[in-house]
Amino acid sequence: MAALTARRGPVASTSTKSSAPLHVENHFQPHYPYRLNFYDTPPQFDVTLEQFESWGLDRLRILAEIESSFVRNRAFEELKGIVNTQQKKYLTLNSNTAINADKDAERKKDHVSHFVLRLAFCRSEDLRRRFIKAEMALFKVRWETDDPKEREEFLKARAFGWGDVSDAEKAELEPHLKACLNPKQLQYFPQEKYYKVPWSRVPDLVHGRRVYLRAGAAYVPSREQSSIVFQQFQADLEEAMEMTARALPRMDEDRLTPILDHLSKGFLAGVASEYSAPESGESVTADMIDGLAKKHFPLCMRALHEHLRKESHLRHQGRLQYGLFLKIVGLSIEEALAFWRKAFSGKMSDEKFTKEHLYNIKHNYGLVGKMANYPARSCQTILTTYPPGANEFHGCPYRHYSEDNLKTALQSMMGISSHDMQDVLSSVRTQHYHVACTRVYELTHGIRKGEGLGGGETVNHPNEYCQRSRELEKSKNAAAADDAMKID
């Protein structure tokens, strides 16, 4: 994949410091002395196309959870917990003290994936803003969980342009500096080291009047250093993203474009996952679907089901979306044929069904045609591809329905009260459809707000929604059974 670097290099080179990309073999392992990274220099080594995509996707999963935490107004501590869990799954970063870890490999993945997503998200103002906000949060979480000693070394290694405040100046300004401290902080004043930075580097501290200002210089105690670092991280990233955006049209790497498209769409949908593993392996029969739909299906599938029952018909995209979903729910090919044959029987002869639909259903199951085992559509696919036309009922109701229709659907199918409706609709209005869907899951399952599918996770696949709902029911039944035993 040497050609990839050669061509991508200049594009990813958002820093003025970067020189021509270095040509190194694929097994080259760069060395990263620190866990934290300011991403000043783009990767100067080869990565495979597969790494390019899968690493980007892994980082995206974390950023998507961060963004959905913002939307749900999670406290920073809560966000920190979620990010740490997600990082362990997708993007581990061990500190230097960890012995049995390939730290350089972890950090290389972190480095590369950051630059992959820069490319994917530099393309619109909105994406840039959201990406920077999420990356900022990720950096803050890592900063706070970093080993203080390693953090200090990391800071020393990078020139921030902070001016030292001499002891004489500190003494001269003592009353002013002290007036910015609360009583708890006052006792540390004698040891406190102060830095002088242009005030615009520490807008947060200025906004809260937490520093002393003189002629444009902010006098920042070392305790507030993190504030300067975060601001610098954000300012640098903003600038770099704009430069990348300007450079991007020159990119002629057509192998990357679809990957980047895919990644940025994934962020818009709030997710980036394919849910293709069949559920628990237990089989579901055609006559169980009505019951399952009422209790466990997300609104998109519930709506398709209701329409199918009412009209004895679904158009092509609706059949695909619903059919693949049912396959993953556990409907075998035999049961699927039985289900669809019966569902269409109200308006269609058996003969016509066999002629027109049998092949397609088998195709969904990979039994004919390309023989591919098609995965069910993820929220991302549903949200961003095949928008429904007139008389079509597939897609994501949160995104594709009018507000009136959505309200009616939520009331009649999901039993959402008018009291809770606003909560759901406000997420819809800000285009956070996955958050709206997650909220409905919480409301219909009697789950505390913010818990999501469990541990704060957001809905990103209809089958995941359904599976979690069924698991929840099972554990409740088990608990009830336990209780029943205890009575005697």
């Binding site: 007036a179 910015c180 609360n182 615009s200 200002l213 002629a215 210089a217």
Partner: protein, 443 residues
């Protein structure tokens, strides 16, 4: 007819809403060249046809102008290649006023041909807007759109505090204060470091400056203390207000605690039940005539009553500290600048250009010297009618009246003030360029 009479006659007829009047104003009086230098940070090109004359900077060509037409239509996203192009468009549209926006990453007039949201504001003067309507709850002389010499004193206090703070804390030097034509004042900061501030940073400045907060229902509008004390910057502002403004404005002239409603509000701002009940008893029984016959204003006496009560509380006690703090907060609440935060926070916010005519008063939005703001009298600001009258009067004595312009009218000292400010901008620009060159050389 004597020249003076002509002037009088024209003044009386001059309706700032009439297109003829405004057309004459823009063509004969508006100082377009000064506006150009002020916004572009470059001198006006002698002639654009001359070889070697640099093109207008993007500070000018990518700058948004918005026009309010006589029929109140509002046209945004205009931009111009040269200063003459702006003048031509203004002569064509005869707007009742026009506003200045940000410098964008592309020409604002191309907005329609650019991809959605491609047009982004990059640079903009840091601006502040102080409007008398925000003082309606405390001024006793006028309400609404009205303003007089007396309530101007609030603006004057605001200007001296804000001007000092922006220079002292933020180090800005290129501040232009402009009367808004009716009841307020604007401040435009042209320092390079101010031009490049992001919206976040502008918001941070507002956080630093904003002291009086909360709507009508909130009695105590000042809550800025850290562990009981005032941050250093606000302490300095308080000193200015205590020394020069609170007593003459609030106590003497406006007599803010004279009416029952006035002193009830004062009592509500005091955190001490005992002091409040003592004062209430005293003030309720008082015969107001008794008070006003004396040399002191009623408010001044009541403020002194309050001081006496506070002095009676044990020195060093927390009660006394709380009362002292409350008195300081009252000074801030009544005299600290009340800034319209939204105007400052966003780079793409538009603000009326200097030297426009206020459509209802006919007065010119003239620059104001912050050192002399105390003596500024809104009623003395020339109106469009007066200025055109002056020109007409001179015209009868001059061979070629078309050579007459603002230099021959009472607008001159104000344009001179802006030109002086522009000289400082150009000087700063030269120094900045030199410093940049030095930096380049050192590479």
């Amino acid at each position: 007819m004597a020249a003076n009479d002509v002037a009088m006659a024209t003044e009386q007829q001059a309706d700032p809403k009439s297109p003829e009047v405004m057309s004459a104003f823009y063509s004969r009086l508006y100082p377009f060249k000064s506006l150009y230098t002020w916004l572009s940070h470059t001198p006006v090109p002698i002639s654009t046809k001359d070889a070697g004359v640099p093109k207008s900077s993007t500070n000018w060509t990518h700058r948004e102008f918005a026009f309010t037409l006589q029929n109140d239509a509002y046209l945004r996203y205009n931009s111009f290649q040269e200063v003459d192009d702006l003048k031509k468009q203004i002569m064509r549209l005869i707007p009742s006023r026009f506003e200045i926006g940000a410098v964008y990453n592309a020409r604002p007039k191309d907005k329609k041909t650019l991809p959605a949201s491609a047009l982004q504001p990059l640079r903009r003067e840091l601006v502040f807007d102080i409007d008398m309507t925000d003082y309606d709850a405390i001024r006793t002389c006028c309400t609404g759109g009205a303003i007089c010499r007396r309530c101007w004193a609030f603006i004057s206090a605001a200007v001296s505090v804000l001007d000092t703070t922006l220079r002292r804390d933020f180090g800005y030097q290129l501040l232009l204060w402009v009367y808004s034509g009716r009841r307020g004042i604007h401040c435009w900061v042209s320092d390079e470091s101010a031009m490049v501030l992001t919206d976040d940073q502008r918001r941070a400045i507002m956080g630093w400056l904003e002291v009086v907060k909360g709507g009508k229902d909130m009695v105590k509008k000042v809550n800025v203390r850290v562990a009981g004390g005032l941050p250093p910057s606000l302490q300095s502002s308080l000193d200015i207000l205590n020394e020069n403004h609170f007593m003459p404005i609030v106590l003497e002239d406006q007599d803010c605690f004279g009416s029952r409603q006035g002193w009830e509000t004062l009592l509500e701002l005091l955190p001490d039940r005992e002091v409040v009940s003592n004062l209430r008893k005293k003030w309720e029984d008082e015969d107001e005539d008794d008070y006003s016959s004396k040399e002191q204003s009623i408010s001044e006496r009541r403020w002194n009553d309050l001081r006496r009560e506070v002095k009676a509380v044990a020195k060093g006690s927390t009660r006394r500290a709380a009362l002292m703090a409350a008195m300081e907060d009252i000074v801030l609440q009544y005299t600290y600048p009340r800034i319209d935060a939204e105007v400052t926070k966003h780079r793409n916010h538009l603000l009326k250009a200097p030297f426009c005519i206020h459509p209802s008063t006919g007065r010119v939005c003239v620059p104001v010297d912050p050192k002399m703001v105390k003596d500024f009298v809104p009623e003395d600001v020339p109106t469009v009618g007066q200025l055109l009258g002056e020109l007409d009067a001179l015209g009868t004595k001059t061979e070629d009246p078309s050579t007459l312009n603002w230099e021959h009218t009472s607008l001159k000292p104000y344009v001179d003030m802006m030109d002086e400010h522009n000289r400082r901008i150009l000087q700063a620009e030269r120094e900045r360029k030199q410093a940049e060159n030095r930096k380049d050389m050192s590479w």
